[in-house]
Amino acid sequence: MKDKMTIILFSGEMDKAIAAFTLATTAASSDMDVSIFFTFWGLNILKKKKFIITKTQMLMQKMFNTMSTSSLPISKMNYFGLGPWMMKKLMKKSNMASLEDLMKLAKQLNVKYIACTTSCGVLGLTKENLTDDVNEFAGAATYLAEAKESKVNLFI
């Protein structure tokens, strides 16, 4: 049986997501089954580019979904979006893989995406608001069942 790895991706920042996906793609390339459990701000990573506010959402949910989108900030020196813009430029210049590249690779390498249903509920998000790459919608028990069988479990 293959070794397993799980990651809880709680943060919605580009730098932290890059760290998570660097490890996920490397593990998946090293003969491991990898699952990423997206919860709270981590769900922003999965939001569609043109995130459409749905009519069914409450006002506060609409506010949250307007202000936190898939245009991710960075965890230090964000400066209202100047930081991520500069970081992307620098990464491109130094030929480093972008988050988009890593996420594409993750899917090619069969990394499993699990979206937390509780966080989706709080933010009024449905399947339609998130990328089609999500494999499952589930909760804590599903994560723990996988984590129990995994050798590497990370919270990012």
């Binding site: 490397t26 390339s29 090293s30 893989a97 690779l105």
Partner: protein
């Protein structure tokens, strides 16, 4: 060192050299040797570590002024 294929990862950073190595080795036959060129210093330790996990056979790591040449034999 005899090799069947060379993979150029010069200019790429972690995790790309390892992921490209994995993708390349998948196209090869058991017993064949892949040479990987890289300049990310992390690659020196990462390639043998990856071989340990994936079961491919790590043969050698050569270092020539900032350029790393790694050799991996595909597992039977």
């Amino acid at each position: 060192m005899e090799k069947n294929k060379t993979l150029d990862c010069v200019g790429l950073f972690c995790p790309m050299p390892i992921i490209k190595t994995k993708q390349e080795i998948e196209t090869m036959k058991p017993g064949e040797v892949l040479e990987i060129l890289a300049d990310d210093p992390g690659f020196e330790k990462d390639l043998p570590a990856w071989c340990k996990m994936s079961g491919e056979l790590f043969l050698e790591m050569k270092k020539e002024d900032g350029l790393y040449k790694g050799y991996v034999k595909k597992k039977p």
